[in-house]
Subunit: 366 residues, 2 copies
Amino acid sequence: MSARFHTTYHIRCPAEEIEARARGIAVEQSVEMPLAAIEDARILEDIVGQVAGITDLGNGVFEVRIALAIATVGEDAGQMLNMILGNTSMHACVSLVDVEIPPVFAAIFGGPRHGLDGLRARLGAGRRPLTATAIKPQGLPVPALADLGHRLALGGLDFIKDDHSHADQAFSPFVARVPAIAAAVRRAVALTGHPTRYVPMLCGDWGRMQAQLRLCRECGIDTVMMAPMLSGVATLQAIARDWPEMAILAHPSMTGGGQIAPDLLFGKLFRLWGADALIFANFGGRFGFSGAMCRSLSDHALAPLHGLRTSTPTPAGGMELARVPALLDFFGRDVMLLIGGSLLLAKERIPQEGAAFHRAVATYFA
Amino acid sequence: MSARFHTTYHIRCPAEEIEARARGIAVEQSVEMPLAAIEDARILEDIVGQVAGITDLGNGVFEVRIALAIATVGEDAGQMLNMILGNTSMHACVSLVDVEIPPVFAAIFGGPRHGLDGLRARLGAGRRPLTATAIKPQGLPVPALADLGHRLALGGLDFIKDDHSHADQAFSPFVARVPAIAAAVRRAVALTGHPTRYVPMLCGDWGRMQAQLRLCRECGIDTVMMAPMLSGVATLQAIARDWPEMAILAHPSMTGGGQIAPDLLFGKLFRLWGADALIFANFGGRFGFSGAMCRSLSDHALAPLHGLRTSTPTPAGGMELARVPALLDFFGRDVMLLIGGSLLLAKERIPQEGAAFHRAVATYFA
């Protein structure tokens, strides 16, 4: 029971408080009780968190490393999140910046079932970067969404995903929307010859989601999207575990403004728990993450990690066709570029604009 | 489709940016695309979010009210969270401070199935405040946990909950732990005559949780705990919907440092979605929330809301017996006091200390 893994936090506090704060996190994230009340020596030795290091980063910020017991995580992604941040999330001045992934976690969670290589193989995409777009806006009736999916697919893109706001609303219920869009995309695929994937957004509890997954399978769909921090990370784990044929795009809804560093959350944790592609808010778009953070996220997603498949970095959030060369220079070929809203500005020329986007990406490294 | 509800955010930004920021949130939390690309006039009129008001709060903080379309929420708590914060959570300078609950949301989600009055009725507790404690630490073998549950129950407390770190670990698997503690608490109940409830912590995806709920029912358990922001708020909704006999204690793990104001998240949203009791980090304990925030949380949980049952404010997190009078003076009688770790410091005198705690609470307003 004594094997441990390290978690790393950044804490903003007065220097004279940092040692107590570090000890506080070590206790909060393990036994959450006064150590004096613990009578079993094995708990003190094997279960209570330990402060492994404190570094002054300057400007009132300290880096604290805690050694937590691997045994406390069990085999549940939700419990892992509970142990690495859980109650400590309620401290506004603390962020979780790194988590060591020991081999046993890789064995338990298994990582992506397809990964970047698996997605490329399905698409016959060789080693090129991938393309994606989104069907928007919510509120359109199903025939209009299907028509839009058809026109986007005529552009020969790799993935056409639901907007993350498509849930199970009365104006486009899941059971009506998904078969209609899947059929419309299939008709376009018959014309283009490119095996474009339509990617529905899953929502609700795991029971509802499984019904949605069954419908997806009936429609010939092999890729789905879900938001791990909205639906619960155990749900991401459950899809990867119980529906291994489904590739999973992780959406960033509810991932927060940095209380868990995005490079860690997406590049390490979502990957560990089974996401095949990681949609994240890119620098220079509508959100405030830095280029360095996005680079680190991509590096994590693609780094060797106990034999786990790589996950596909998918920068998004206000991207435009004109930025494609700069984005590919920055991220390299192991990336999926997602352009949503700005593609839709082309209106009646959506197929042509989509084709231009796909061509720009697919041929950049050719 | 044009009915709307208001969401309120606090935004820290330069004054010259606030109008654009407000419009940005209105779009992000509805259609998430350039409005110029929307050709359907009904979408612009009925679905796109609208800025309903901007107030300068001083010190560089603005309050922004957005009118979102009710129709975009559907009937899913997860989708509601997706629409009220979702992508905007990725902006570090924005917090969600209020959400209007229109009658239709009360009708869809239904609120607590038992609420404070239901918990009191089960316990024969009249109108008195309730008591709770926790079985800690994780890592103890099942017989030791059961023994601790027995001794805590001998004190005649109302609720004895699992520590939130009890998941399904090898050292105390759910299927072994829960029946053993339930039996131990039952033996104590036979001695005390007080119907103390043992409250297991649910974990994992909804499939696993339903298996856990079935086992709970077999063990005669009628109250469970789960962490909505860890397991997904749709899972809270699912328990209330599919297991209406189970009272639900909501745990604050992963509720964050204030990006969703706790009075809103616990007092309004968790209540709306079905939580019968709201465990929150009290002021003056290990966490940084203010007395005013805790008061507001309690006020929200108990306020009239379209006929929904009240939810039980349950302040916790470093509470002690000596603070009981002050806490009851502060919160009044409509509260559950939760003292965890400090009760365990009594060690061999745990039953007596528990009894003293319960007596202090139960008789305070007598």
